[in-house]
Symmetry: D2
Subunit: 339 residues, 4 copies
């Protein structure tokens, strides 16, 4: 392999462009060489030119069959992920794949098998693991200075409602939104979820119930190592992106508050105002996206372990299905009941 990782980008939508810009500017040792998007147009071509990307394709096959390309970033629509993984792996390319791999457990497993068979590396895009705050919680727990983890808590609230058009096809809150938190609790606990109990309700009046969905959830769980966990979700915090994590351990507690827009405090007779949390994931996880791409690049170039594996991509989907089943049946559901 070259000293630089030559990358092909699959999909130039919002998340694809985000990765593209990071790969072009913020991640050393990467050469962003080609993009492929079935909806390629002049805007995308111009964007590619400005980033200095030499090749623009409509057909992803051009990327898979280019022997000079070392790795792909799969940022296309979810339903294409599993197929692209298969083809990329078969072509011997290392893979960064946005989450989720798929919503079909069988397809996920087949994709993972192909990756293993092809002896390539694959990283799944659970970007929050690379956030400075959550990583601080993880690293403190993993270091052992606080002893064993007893309780893992995740608060995860979006700033505002998605459109009902989006909700209609989102797959439900657990697969669409909580999936990040299911990954987070595994990451923080250092252990597998064995049982889930989900409470949820449509309380906001925005209309989630008409699609059988909810806007508010509290999901509790047990981990293999005995720890307990709880995730609370809201589709609409209104004050910004509320993303807090906390782990209580043998010897104490590590927690993180939200990143704020600034560190200001304005004090008057009317009250004391501080800054709001950053608005959404682009603001909050901006640096995490860079760190995630960097970690993938380093793992491939220097043959280091992948920090978020295919298995890490599979588990949150299973937990999401368990949570769905729990909510529907009004009882705790064991992970082994799923898949």
């Amino acid at each position: 392999m070259n000293q630089k990782l030559r990358v092909g980008l699959l999909g130039a939508g919002r998340i694809g462009k985000l990765h593209g810009e990071n790969l072009a500017h913020a991640v050393p040792n990467v050469e962003l060489y080609a993009i492929a998007d079935p909806f390629i147009n002049d805007d995308i071509r111009q964007w590619a030119q400005e980033l200095g990307i030499p090749q623009c394709y409509e057909d992803p096959q051009k990327i898979f069959e280019d022997p000079t390309i070392d790795a792909v970033f799969i940022c296309s629509s979810t339903k294409t992920h599993a197929d692209f993984i298969q083809r990329a792996a078969a072509a011997g390319k290392h893979i960064f794949c946005e989450k989720p791999i798929d919503t079909d457990l069988k397809k996920i497993k087949k994709a993972i098998e192909q990756v293993e068979k092809s002896n390539v590396k694959m990283q799944v895009g659970f970007v929050r693991r690379f956030d400075h705050n959550h990583k601080m919680v993880h690293d403190t727990v993993a270091s052992g200075v606080l002893g064993k983890p007893h309780m893992i808590k995740v608060t995860s609230r979006d700033p505002d409602h998605q459109s009902m058009d989006y909700i209609k096809v989102s797959g439900g809150i657990f697969l669409d939104m909580t999936i990040h938190d299911f990954d987070m609790v595994r990451y923080l606990a250092g252990s597998e979820v064995v049982e889930v109990m989900a409470y949820g309700a449509a309380l906001s009046g925005a209309g989630y119930e008409q699609y059988g969905d909810i806007d508010t959830a509290v999901v509790t769980m047990k981990f293999e190592n005995g720890a307990l966990g709880v995730i609370d979700n809201s589709r609409a915090a209104h004050y910004g992106y509320d993303q807090r994590t906390e782990v209580h351990c043998d010897k104490g507690c590590v927690q993180v508050a939200n990143d704020l827009n600034d560190m200001s405090m304005i004090s008057t007779a009317e009250g004391v105002q501080i800054a709001k949390p950053t608005w959404f994931f682009l603001e909050r996880y901006n640096n995490a996206f860079i760190a995630e791409a960097q970690a993938f690049t380093d793992a491939v170039l220097f043959d280091k372990p992948i920090p978020v594996t295919g298995f890490d991509g599979l588990q949150p989907v299973k937990i999401a299905y368990a949570a769905e089943k729990s909510l529907k049946e009004g009882r705790p559901v064991k992970l082994k009941e799923i898949g």
Copy 2:
């Protein structure tokens, strides 16, 4: 009734003395006139003298039969509460009773019935409702400025393990410790709990499991108004008394952090240190105990509604039994299954 409320104090243990000192010094319009304690001794007599309490008895009956006494503070051992309530109510005395009224639901109900029949007022000692922090959360929610409550969260961790001798007879974490939090979620939600799911484990290594007890719990619940709730407990936070509450509503979130020993920050090359939370309930709820006694006094003297009623004393015990049942049977339990 006099302009001052003449009070008899039943029980001069730790909590009795605490109330006694507040009644003597910090609550205007109260005359602390008598105490009764079956273990009365010279120390207690001297303590009473210093507070200027004229009468010291061994037998509580002396207080019940004194027609000049308007109200009693029942601070004796839990098993005496229901009986003392009955006798005090029958004697026409208003009653402040430490929590819990009893652990037997039937006895609680009978005590409440007697109070109603006797047309006296009774307040139960869920002191946390009078804490400036939790009250701020409650009042904000109750004011309606944030719209309807969606999610009620309570973190409640004791600073350190009780002795195993205590645990052995404590009645279990839900009746002994979480009971305060069951009251708190009702208070914050402004609604009744209808279903509970409890997870719990003995993780600390301190030995709770040998008494069938746990040291770590996560309890989720549904409220009549549709809101969801979660309580997390630990018997040993180690860093102090961790008492945080949070309510997420239609339009945003109100939450409170812990009171700290001071507002200091020490910054060096080694790190930045801030103060620990206050150590335990005596430090944290010091002013709340005064406010609670004040509220009772005002309710009686000025015929205002009692802020924490007999029914408020009953419900947390029912929720605690539901949580116990849930933990044992590994399933959500409806409140109507209890009692």
Copy 3:
């Protein structure tokens, strides 16, 4: 001396009553035996009765000549302090005197001399030294863990304007308000002020300038130990009592923020609001007043050193005069130019 300190209280105005209540209820080992106030009336007599104070006088001489009284609390108007100190000391009584001892340096010195001659103890009421926050800063610096102090910073802002009637006779901001901060910087630096430079202005529009006074001040100073200091004052913060201290040292910095009304945070689309600082000195320094009286009592009963001496009462007055001179003459003024 008795096991309890028998105290006579001189002056039953706002600050006298505050000390009286603390002595009666919150400070063990004190017997508040008598009060004297030239304006004694039924209200004061009733207040005294409620506190259980046996003797109420119009004439302070009754207290000075009562051989059973061990100590006096001088809480009368400033112009009486020096005389009362003389008479109390001559009568062999230990003295707690509210600040300032006097505004006349000669009178202060004479009072101190009498105290020394009479071999009694005298504590001056610089109450902020007993605040948990400022004490934390002092103790950290004094412990030496941060090395030598380099810079002492005090922010001290009153919540709102005093009436102009008050300002007219206040003696000016430095003697009336900054005097507390002059004591604070000495306390925190552990060293004497040697030079002062004062800037000040009447910026609020409330009318201080018509009495030759100012509402905003920034005073810098040099200490004997080489450290530098700065105090900033405002007569009207509007958001509460702003009382922050900070010391930067060899190895880092210790600072304290304000006590707040509660630890709440309310987050909505409109913004994030936290609680305001406590409103004024009664709220902020409530516990400090108790600790100060306790310290005096302990110093007398157990013959421990007085924490705030007559010399500590003298120095801030000298610094205040130096600051006044600096402001008037537009130049730094050395302490040795004063008195």
Copy 4:
């Protein structure tokens, strides 16, 4: 002019590279076309190639004489700034110049005159004005919601000592370090400094005194609008880059705390630890550097006012000289005494 601003970069040292990378990647509408550095070498050429900079020169004249270049970024050593400004302006190029323009007031004035004569725009690199925190303070004050400013406070402490080799030639703390704060107080006050009083000392033991320099300073000042100001400096905070600003106004106060490495809190029996401030200016003002280059680009391309003018570059140097004079002569110095 093109739709893109074609820029030549003068100087490819640490600060030049920082600007170069921002211009190449983070600022839209810029074409970084050429660099010139008298010490150009293979490393710089490779760096330029990676950024896609077409031209690399040793001689800056190549940039001045290239008619296709619209603007220059002067990031060379301070002693070259004034000359480069003259030449760039004469060649009709817009100028971004790192601070300070020069340390010689006459040279600064001549450079500004040339800029005015040539009718080009010039922005001086006081980057802190573009920091999200300080900008929040400025914007709040400038909006008028708090009324007139009364007091401007700046805390500015470097994380650790520079080498004594650096200090020897630094020009002294006021010209080297406090100059940023002199700009900041003008920016926050919205008014000119009219008088300065400086206290300073070498307290750290690192040896500043051997070069006639100091490591600790407290500088107070008066503004034309009547407000008062204070800056406190330390060369070695040890805990990170301490950069706080605060303005107290008619109706209240706006202040900003430091950006922290993360929002974590770790609580154990030993204490509660939060994150340290970001280490130094590269971490703290990273985004501010981008915003500053963006502001310059926008000002030129869209003919908007320059946010930091030549006059803004001149004034802090004058204030620095006034502070130096004040420290030497032990008296307040008026700005009009300088230059």
